[in-house]
Amino acid sequence: MSTTKPVYVTQARGGVADTASVTGVAYQVRTVVHKNNAYTGDNQDKDYLLNLFVYSIVDSSDAAQDTFDHYATIADLDLIPTARDQAVTRGLSQYRDNVNLVKFDNLSVATTAAQVIRDTLNNVVSTYLKVKSEFTGSSTHYFPYNVEIATLRTEYIEAYTTARDARALAEQSQDISQNSYDSLQKDNTTLADSKTKICELYEYTSKLQTLSSVVSSKYKETLKGLVQEFREDTDDYNAAYNAAMTALEDYIDDSSNYVFDSNWANTITATNAGSGLSLLGLIIQTNALAQTYCSNYGNLVAASDLNKSAALEDLNEKQASKEAAATIEQDALATLSVYCPNLDPATL
């Protein structure tokens, strides 16, 4: 048995049949506080700390109706009597006892509650002994204090230094966001510039493409016109020759006979086309490429714009956080300087 602890508890935990419970079973925790006879401290502590459960009196004539209300506080130890009849006589509605019985519907809650009961009692007892120990004795005080109250001083210093450190962290956080935003802005500027230039190139090649189509159809029309004119000027030729001319015109009209495909998408090589057609084909292919790049860069710029907006939003949030942290730091320093007017914040 410990000689330094005035009381101890015994706790009985188990399941019991209970008709009031949905499952027919309840989990019961019965806690009893006992005096520790081996305690060598102030003998009165054992009696003072024995009754730690506060009960409410529902009907003064029927103790069976009493209900558990709460665990005793330090103040309750002085204010609430330990005998029920004494409480009734004094017109009080509460008294303290050393036995406590509580029931729960499920095991999980009961298990936690058993621990909570022990911890709560431990807290009351240890707090009481500490308060009593600090209170007992005598001292002399001169006013005003020549130094700040130690506990308040520590509290306000901690409040200030914590706020200052939080602000410093917020500054770092803003720096990181600013760097990220800087980088995205540079990317965005480069992409937007590239997009403008490639799309400008696309606009120019589009105009070239229009001209290319005109030129190619002109080639065909010119060639066909020459054939037709030649036929009109040569009526003396025979039917076979006319048929040949008609076949030639049909051949010219049939686009499948051209060395380039109708979309101008395939490469024109020197073996199947002249340099004129190759030039037209290359212009049209350049236009198609420029269109693709312009579109791609449009998408890249749109994505970059979104990223940039998100980064700016994040940066502004971080800046606002820093400002809020600086305000909290300011308030903490103001409080500190009121209660500790001789303390240099630069030394903290």
Partner: protein, 239 residues
């Protein structure tokens, strides 16, 4: 003469309507002795290619800087245009801030006075540190000094100039030599500056002068800038 600030505080209550009112606090440091007269940290969001000197947008008061922090932030006049939009932080001698409760204004004022008092060394005069500066050639540190006790450097070398104590209000000059600042002026990070020695036409003598304008302290570093004479290509036999 002991350290001091001469400060003007102005508090104005504005009531736009019965449910819309605020207090405005304006604090201006008119002059100071041995301490920086620009300890107020402000921040503004400045668009790209806008000169901060001509910036007329919102200036947000952040806090009052302790002496030890002054060197980390540039004064407004030292900030140049940036090509990208960003939050720019700078020091000034005056600010105006609005408060929606008088208590908040009172707290702000109290904390400002506390920091200014700390900066003047009123709390603990023994904590006031004298102004000191040091120079380090971080590119080439083995040249040492010449017979006139001048620190020898090559053109193109990089120098770190660090300082401590004093008011933190520091300027660095080098007569006849335009030192190349390697740090963005709007984003200083410590009580130090990084410079590169520019190309010189020939061997040059000069002095790097680090001045704490508020503490009237000057630290001078005589330097001798060497120009190598073996630029270009040569072909030779190694025996």
């Amino acid at each position: 003469m002991s350290n001091l600030y001469n400060v003007t505080k102005a508090i104005v209550f504005t009531e736009l309507s019965s449910d819309n009112f605020y207090w405005t606090l304006t604090v201006t440091i008119n002059s100071s002795v041995n301490v920086s007269n620009k300890p107020f940290l402000l921040e503004s969001f400045v668009d790209s290619n806008v000169d901060i000197a001509e910036f007329s947008g919102e200036q947000r008061f952040i806090r009052t800087l302790l002496n030890s922090e002054i060197g980390k932030y540039p004064p407004k006049a030292d900030i140049t245009t940036t090509t990208i939009a960003r939050w720019v932080t700078y020091r000034t001698n005056t600010f105006t801030n609005k408060f929606y409760t008088y208590k908040a204004l009172q707290s702000a004022l109290q904390s400002i006075e506390t920091v200014l008092k700390a900066n003047t060394g009123s709390y603990s005069p023994e904590d006031i540190k004298p102004f000191k500066a040091a120079i380090k050639n971080i590119t080439y540190s083995s040249l040492g000094k010449d017979s006139s006790d001048r620190t020898k450097l090559y053109e193109g070398d990089t120098l770190a100039i660090s300082f401590s104590g004093g008011s933190g209000e520091v300027s660095i000059t080098c007569a006849g030599v335009s030192l190349i600042n390697l740090q963005p002026s709007n984003h200083l990070k410590a009580n130090s500056r990084l410079y590169r020695i520019p190309l010189v036409s020939g061997a040059t003598f000069s002095n790097i002068v680090v001045t704490d304008s508020n503490a009237n302290s000057v630290v001078t570093f005589p330097i001798s800038i060497l120009k190598p004479d073996n630029y270009g290509s040569t072909t030779e036999d190694i025996l």
